[in-house]
């Protein structure tokens, strides 16, 4: 497992490891793999590409791991892909969304065939967000977030996807994660008078920004994607003068599998998962273990064909991979579709897709 356990994304990284640990415990409770217990070894990427690559190499060469799950940021993951490809080790990507990952698999299949993305690609993510915005009758939106790679790409992709549907971004801004100019961005976003603000920030800054935005525009709805705002512990203190929506891979009540996962997680860690940076790593490990069992081996040459052809159950639904090794997320039938919830004082309510 490669995750940032220190640095600005430590919260997300810790959720990563907790959820993966839960999946490993679940696998071991079911008898393990080939009669052996599954063990998880963690490398702290610190949110840095060079560290992520070094840790990937350490896990493969010194710890002798059978597969890698991670990393967190797109930048890190692209770096780790190189290591996994060179070492011919299976890499399951839980959350990194950049198009480069699956583009590389498509273009250079022989080299990157061991890489599979469990989480949604940027195009799939944008498609799900666009469907939600259409459902909420949003015509003008502001896209705001941390100035990191996947945000920049997601903002552009979303703009392309919603344009034919008559929706437009009226304000786009990215702040520096290290010292964000929240106040100015919040004021400018409010002044643009959007129907909704799409907040793309996976870290702690999403909380601070929401507070600033609420001060500038108390009645402006916000959709948080991939952020800390899915944390129920925060919900009691975030301002709810207007709707706060959160997009998650899975949520309690979305399906029996999702509910079972949330309950296990809550029982194990004392708080429910945020639905993104925990759910997708959980499913990545679950898919990996299922592939090992089906293949009867943990060898890359045996596991890759199984992952390419099989269907695997996770908390978010049934995973199948396309030719670029991308799991099928989206809005069509047979796809994993994620969940949009709205925070209310008593908890979160699923609002999309309609059940």
């Amino acid at each position: 497992m490669l995750a940032p356990l220190s640095g600005p994304y430590a919260a997300g990284g810790t959720s990563f490891v907790q959820a993966a640990t839960l999946a490993v415990e679940q696998a071991n409770a079911e008898g393990g793999v080939f009669g052996q217990r599954v063990t998880i070894v963690v490398g702290d990427t610190q949110g840095r590409v060079d560290v992520a690559k070094a840790e990937a190499l350490r896990l493969i060469s010194r710890e002798k791991v059978s597969a890698l799950v991670g990393a967190y940021l797109s930048e890190e993951t692209v770096g780790v892909m190189e290591v996994a490809a060179a070492q011919k080790t299976v890499l399951l990507v839980p959350v990194a969304a950049t198009a480069e990952i699956t583009d590389l698999v498509r273009r250079e299949y022989a080299r990157y065939r061991c890489v599979f993305r469990v989480g949604y690609s940027l195009a799939q993510w944008a498609e799900m967000i666009a469907a939600f915005l259409a459902d909420q009758k949003v015509r003008r939106y502001a896209f705001v977030g941390a100035g990191i790679r996947w945000n920049l790409e997601l903002g552009e992709t979303l703009e392309r996807i919603v344009a034919p549907r008559g929706a437009t971004p009226v304000y786009t801004a990215f702040y520096s994660p290290g010292n964000p100019a929240f106040d100015t961005v919040a004021v400018a976003a409010a002044a643009a008078a959007p129907d909704m603000v799409v907040l793309a920030d996976p870290g702690r800054n999403s909380v601070s920004f929401l507070k600033r935005l609420r001060e500038a525009a108390p009645a402006l709805p916000v959709l948080s994607i991939g952020g800390a705002l899915g944390d129920a512990r925060l919900a009691a203190s975030i301002p709810l003068s207007a709707p706060v929506y959160v997009q998650a891979a899975a949520w309690r009540g979305a399906s029996p599998a999702a509910t079972a996962y949330v309950e296990r997680y809550e029982q194990r860690y004392g708080a429910p998962p945020v639905g993104y940076s925990d759910t997708l790593p959980y499913d990545a490990v679950t898919v990996l273990v299922a592939a090992w069992r089906k293949a009867g081996s943990a060898a890359t040459a045996d596991v890759v064909p199984v992952l390419e052809r099989g269907t695997f159950s996770g908390a978010a639904g049934a995973y199948r991979f396309d030719a670029a090794h991308q799991a099928h997320w989206g809005t069509g039938p047979g796809t994993l579709h994620g969940t949009f919830v709205r925070w209310e004082r008593g908890g979160a309510r699923i609002v999309f897709p309609p059940r």
Binding site: P8, A11, D183
Partner: protein
């Protein structure tokens, strides 16, 4: 809604207040103890966690957390000052490294106790001023508190009770020869500055997320402010903080939010190249 530009500049004023609030304690440490304390941000974080802990027990006002945070931080600060800062003060490279290690230890401890996840305290509704201007509640608190804290510091340093601090800042040997317990005054000052940082952290805790690393950004900016303004002038510290806050907002508005930090640091570099000893360095001062 008021003019967005006016609102952005007003928010810059409040942001400057937060820099000044942190810089007050930093100036005291740099001026009297003459060390760069890289654990200052950790005490800011400590104050925020104290406010969160009280809020979790139903005491929601961060103002109520200020005395408790200040007392805890003072005790820690005195211990740190006496056991570590004073003994290694003569080694210029050891202290920044040591205080940085303390900050990292604290961050790790906070992560173990409260977890890495962001926590939050309800901020309350902002006040609406003339012309629909939004007065961010904790921005106003920061501005007024920083003015009060720096004003108090200026008064202490210029009045009779501040004479030992002034004398030690000017010449420790003379202060010692006059019978002053220089070591004790140093670690008590260190503790007092830590208490100021914790008070700032408690006061500002509702404005954002409470996390183990939340003290890093204010640490850097407060250090920059004190070095550029010169630790001798409390007024210059306040004005420079406000100036940098407004400059950051103006750059975020006119250029890009990602440029605001770059602009702040560029302005600081220009100021330092023009006045390496600080804007208001005292002529002929002995260090």
């Amino acid at each position: 809604m008021a003019s967005p530009l006016l609102q952005a500049l007003l928010d810059g004023l409040f942001a400057g207040g937060t820099y000044a609030l942190m810089a007050a304690g930093m100036a005291l440490i740099l001026g009297v103890v003459k060390v760069i304390n890289l654990s200052h941000g950790a005490f800011f974080t400590l104050g925020a966690y104290v406010a969160y802990a009280l809020a979790a027990h139903g005491i929601g006002s961060p103002i109520a957390a200020v005395p408790l945070a200040a007392v805890i931080a003072f005790a820690f600060g005195v211990f740190l000052g006496k056991s570590f800062v004073n003994p290694v003060r003569g080694h210029p490279f050891a202290l920044p490294v040591g205080t940085l290690a303390v900050a990292l230890l604290f961050e790790q401890a906070a992560q173990m106790v409260w977890g890495p996840h962001p926590l939050s305290i309800e901020a309350g509704a902002p006040w609406v001023g003339p012309g629909g201007l939004v007065l961010r509640r904790w921005g106003v608190v920061a501005l007024l508190s920083s003015a009060a804290m720096l004003g108090g510091l200026k008064w202490v340093l210029s009045a009779r009770p501040g004479l030992p601090l002034r004398l030690i800042a000017e010449d420790e040997e003379i202060a010692g020869s006059l019978g002053m317990d220089v070591e004790a005054i140093r670690f008590l000052t260190f503790g007092g500055a830590c208490a100021m940082a914790a008070a700032a952290g408690a006061l500002l805790s509702p404005s954002g997320a409470v996390t183990p690393t939340m003290g890093r950004a204010p640490l850097l900016l407060s250090l920059v402010v004190v070095i550029v303004a010169g630790m001798d002038s409390v007024g210059a510290i306040f004005l420079l903080s406000i100036g940098l806050g407004i400059l950051g907002s103006a750059c975020a508005w006119f250029l890009s939010p990602q440029w605001s930090y770059v602009a702040l640091l560029a302005a600081v570099c220009l100021l330092l190249s023009a006045r390496p000893a600080g804007i208001v360095a005292l002529a002929g001062r002995r260090d």
